[in-house]
């Protein structure tokens, strides 16, 4: 039984197009589901409709097996972590975490035990007396998580909680988040625009663009088998190479370009190298294709940092294995079989 689901969920704001357009999502029990997309894709709006902070124009939201459209946020059994953490600045950490218990009428006597338990899970027991303004970004995140945990909700909703942290902190915070979710086992729906986060954290990823779901799948599925050109170019940095000709688009990822002639069925190119970049962990090369009807098209490929970079202007033979080629229809962008 899905813990969270939406059916044909649509949201239109005044005088505009649909911000969310017929979105169907079904989460699995205990999974970490990521909603990934660029800004304006509607992912945050979907999350807010699941939370009950926005009213859908049409469609249904299901939580724990029942329709919750008519229920207020407090009645839905959810907990939410906001991008800014939304900690109550005038309350201590203890009172912040205890607030949901107070609001839900949990008897006073039980507060201390529950708060202690939640605080312990995140290692913030020693911070209980402090005020939010005295905490670092990482500590605030943990308080927000503890506040969400303390009610033992059916599902956690997280709205880009890592985006306010600086880059260095983000990786370790991400790791903590992941460990925590695995340990607690509660279903989580997580919104982000950062594909690295999505790939690292998600059990499954829902890719959204312009209010529509483009693809749902495990990180491996959406990366290796993109459903359309949007997904193909959104994931992976640098993006998948796309070459269009005669209504058909040929795609292959930069890491699958190899020097040489390749086996039967591989796509072969002669490419002139225009520019290389040394990134430390690897190198990138940008080049222009010279033949095969692809004259003038540009591609990117990766190669290890210990290899010598091809000199600028030199022409190479490269190939991409048949199994790594992806074909798309030029008009619709959708995936199709090889021609």
């Amino acid at each position: 039984m899905a813990v969270v689901a939406t059916r044909a969920l649509t949201k239109r704001f005044a005088g505009g197009e649909n911000a969310v357009d017929g979105v169907d999502i079904e989460s699995r029990d205990g999974e970490f589901l990521v909603l990934l997309g660029p800004s304006g894709s509607g992912k945050t709006t979907v999350l807010r409709m699941i939370a009950g902070l926005e009213e859908p124009t049409s469609g249904e939201v299901w939580i724990g097996g029942r329709i919750v459209n008519r229920l207020t946020p407090r009645e839905r059994g959810i907990a939410m972590v906001f991008q800014s953490y939304a900690l109550y600045p005038h309350l201590s950490v203890y009172d912040n975490i205890a607030f949901p218990l107070k609001a839900q009428g949990v008897p006073r006597g039980e507060h201390e035990a529950k708060v202690g338990w939640a605080a312990e899970k995140f290692g913030i027991v020693r911070l209980l007396g402090r005020k939010p303004r005295e905490l670092s970004g990482g500590e605030r995140q943990r308080v927000a998580l503890a506040r969400a945990l303390v009610r033992q909700p059916q599902v956690f909703l997280l709205d880009e909680p890592l985006s306010n942290l600086d880059a260095k902190l983000r990786a370790s915070a991400r790791e903590e988040l992941q460990k925590f979710q695995k340990e607690i086992g509660t279903t989580a729906v997580y919104v982000t625009h950062d594909q690295v986060e999505a790939m690292a954290l998600g059990d499954r990823v829902v890719i959204m663009d312009h209010g529509r779901v483009r693809q749902v799948g495990t990180p491996a599925e959406v990366y290796d088998d993109p459903a359309d050109t949007f997904v193909a170019t959104f994931l992976g940095s640098p993006a998948m190479n796309l070459l269009e000709r005669d209504g058909v688009v040929l795609g292959f990822r930069p890491e699958h370009v190899r020097a040489g002639a390749g086996a039967e069925g591989a796509a072969r190119f002669r490419v002139r190298c225009d520019l290389t970049e040394y990134l430390g962990s690897e190198q990138l090369a940008y080049g222009t294709l010279q033949d095969g009807g692809w004259e003038g098209r540009e591609i990117v490929w990766r190669f290890p940092s210990w290899e010598a970079a091809p000199p600028e202007g030199s022409v190479r033979e490269v190939f991409v294995e048949r199994g790594r080629l992806r074909w798309f229809d030029a008009a619709s962008g959708l995936r199709r079989a090889a021609p």
């Binding site: 009950g52 207020t72 946020p73 959810i78 939410m80 600045p89 303004r133």
Partner: protein, 290 residues
């Protein structure tokens, strides 16, 4: 930036204020310990005679009591009313601009004109308030309330006019504070399970406490030091029933010509102002720390 530029820019304004405020304050102190009268050029030192004379006058004691009564009651009403109104105005709705215009009118209107409007509203013969009350059967036509003629009612009227006048200002200040709260805090409270009242009482209102204190401070100072409403509505009557310190100072010092006594009376306003200044400084200091 040149070292002298800052002080040079600031000097004219401060000099003006120092001269035209500082000097009168000093003069006021001087007057209060002398026996100056309008029209006489000679004054002599009388020590604290003016103050002790004032304290012994029943008019003064009444005025002192009334000043506190009017201020405390009207501002308590204002705090409650303005909070309610600000909470109601927080979310946008159609016609909110018009409502805001209407709500602000008492504050924008010069207080003397608002007061004269109320004088007409509460007129002994033609009061529309009385007409409505009589029509509703609440009071008898033969004996309608004399809003400005009967001592207790006159006090109530003055309190009401002060409340009416200062409520809009407090509302605007509180509203500004409420709208400066980031949206996700009340949303987090909603998700956490708190309803309308708990969210506001436990979260948003405590968050705007500094700004609310500023609004309260303004209201208290304006009301305590105001003589206009009393002067226009009742001239302090009937028989000193609505006299307050500032109006008493005016009647004694300006109309009565006894400058020293008047100065002494108005100096009793000073302690409250000092208190207000201290509270304000504390708030300013506290908000710097965050």
């Amino acid at each position: 930036m040149k070292r002298w530029l800052g002080p040079a820019l600031v000097a004219p304004a401060f000099a003006y204020i120092a001269l035209l405020v500082g000097l009168p304050v000093v003069l006021s102190l001087y007057l209060s310990v002398s026996d100056a009268r309008v029209g006489s050029d000679t004054t002599s030192f009388v020590g604290l005679a003016n103050f002790s004379a004032a304290v012994r006058t029943p008019s003064f004691r009444a005025a002192l009591a009334h000043s506190f009564l009017f201020t405390v009651v009207s501002q308590a009403l204002v705090i409650v009313g303005a909070t309610l109104l600000a909470l109601s105005l927080k979310e946008a709705f159609r016609g909110r601009g018009l409502v805001r215009f209407l709500v602000l009118l008492p504050w924008v209107a010069p207080i003397s004109l608002g007061a004269i409007g109320w004088k007409w509203l509460l007129d002994s013969l033609y009061s529309v308030v009385n007409w409505v009350l009589v029509a509703a059967g609440v009071v008898s036509a033969a004996n309608p309330p004399m809003w400005l003629g009967e001592p207790r009612l006159a006090m109530l009227s003055v309190v009401l006019v002060h409340t009416w006048r200062t409520l809009p200002f407090a509302t605007v200040i509180l509203l500004a504070g409420l709208t400066s709260i980031p949206r996700d805090i009340p949303e987090a409270a909603a998700v956490d399970g708190s309803g309308f009242w708990r969210t506001h009482l436990s979260i948003t209102l405590p968050m705007i406490r500094p700004i609310a204190l500023v609004a309260l401070l303004f209201g208290v100072v304006f009301t305590f030091t105001d003589m206009t409403a009393v002067y226009i509505l009742t001239r302090g009557g009937p028989a000193d029933a609505t006299q307050v310190l500032p109006s008493l100072a005016f009647f004694t010092g300006i109309l009565g010509g006894d400058l020293s006594a008047g100065a002494a009376i108005s100096l009793f306003l000073f302690p409250l102002l000092l208190l207000g200044a201290v509270v304000l400084l504390r708030i300013a200091h506290r908000s710097e720390v965050t």
